[in-house]
Point group: C2
Chain length 214, copies 2
């Protein structure tokens, strides 16, 4: 009878242990799910009062200029520099106006370290004053443009197919220190996928060998 | 002894019941948390092939025109119509170019049904061809503009302090049926708060009685 009670006790202990395990598993799974939904989002607003120093924020050795005239304080542009310079696989840039030399430098640097850089811009902007398109092309970066009379007016970038940067911000000096602008940064996978799909659609549409019939 | 076993059995049954209750409570709480994090996000891309019919998508009786020349099929503009027409408390519009009469109609309708509508646009756009600023003002909608030589270049709207609509899209007919544009719709509370804050900042900054000293 005593042995029978011991067995029964062991049985109940196992049952309780089993239930505890279930609680823990459910908790863990839902915690993970909850965490996964908690996507990183950030907003940066322009104008900045000063232009951020690209070397200070993106180079391993920082800025070595003796009398650097650019800002070493974190601001909106420095945040954008850091997001773009951390790309490791791909950078899909879809921007209406592209005249900022510093941001173009980051694309060329990324291309040189093996990141697949693709740029889409508006055809009317290619020959505009200060356009960086020819510089990008001469460095081997692939650039495609629409050929319509309308605007390729997007201003978004997808980095490593993981992070979306989207807003009103064209890549110009005026957008940095003059205009009221915004950039929304998100790693929400649903959003990122939608923009990747749109980029791929436009990349195909603007393939020069395709004739842009659509 | 038999009665003792019955008591013990009842005790274990209660313990198992209690643990089951804990599992359910933990599950419920985490499910709720998980749901809360699952913010609604959507992206709409332009151009649309046709202009959506504003009456069909926003009026109770729909479109009554015999030969309506506008589209009754859901597209990007119809989605934007529906988002804007559902405002009940406030609509904060911060858009660089505002020439689209249909979208302006929605602002005036919202204003008339008691929604607090505030519009910020660029000063250089006020007298541009087709600008809707004077029409809005004549209907009693509050419009403020920057007075700088730079652009108030944002293109975002916050509805009921709950939903953000943000992207490259100016409120023009060309943006609807011509350009490549995007609008991101989000009810992520962190994002919405940031844009509300920015709107309030600009609204104060562009107060005509303030003299725009900043």
């Amino acid at each position: 009878m005593k042995g029978h009670n011991v067995l029964r006790f062991a049985g109940y202990t196992l049952a309780v242990g089993f239930l505890t395990e279930i609680i823990y598993t459910v908790y863990k799974r839902l915690s993970k799910k909850s965490k996964a939904k908690n996507d990183t989002t950030e907003v940066i607003f322009f104008p900045d009062s000063q232009v951020a120093c690209i070397d200070y924020f993106t180079k391993v050795n920082g800025c070595v200029a003796r009398d650097c005239k650019f800002s070493h304080k974190e601001n909106s542009l420095s945040k954008l520099f850091m997001i773009l310079s951390k790309s490791t696989k791909s950078m899909d840039v879809c921007v209406f106006v592209l005249t900022c030399t510093d941001l173009t430098d980051l694309l060329i640097q990324a291309h040189k370290r093996g990141v697949r850089v693709r740029v889409i811009t508006d055809c009317e902007q290619v020959d505009a004053t200060g356009s960086q398109v020819w510089r990008l092309r001469s460095e081997g970066v692939a650039v495609r443009t629409d050929e319509s009379s309308f605007f390729m007016h997007h201003k978004f970038v997808v980095i490593d197919e993981k992070t979306l940067v989207n807003g009103s911000f064209n890549w110009t000096r005026q957008a940095i220190t003059g205009n009221q602008e915004n950039l929304l940064i998100s790693d929400n996978s649903t959003l990122v996928k939608e923009y990747c799909k749109q980029f791929d659609h436009l990349w195909m549409l603007y393939d020069p060998q395709r004739g842009q019939l659509d």
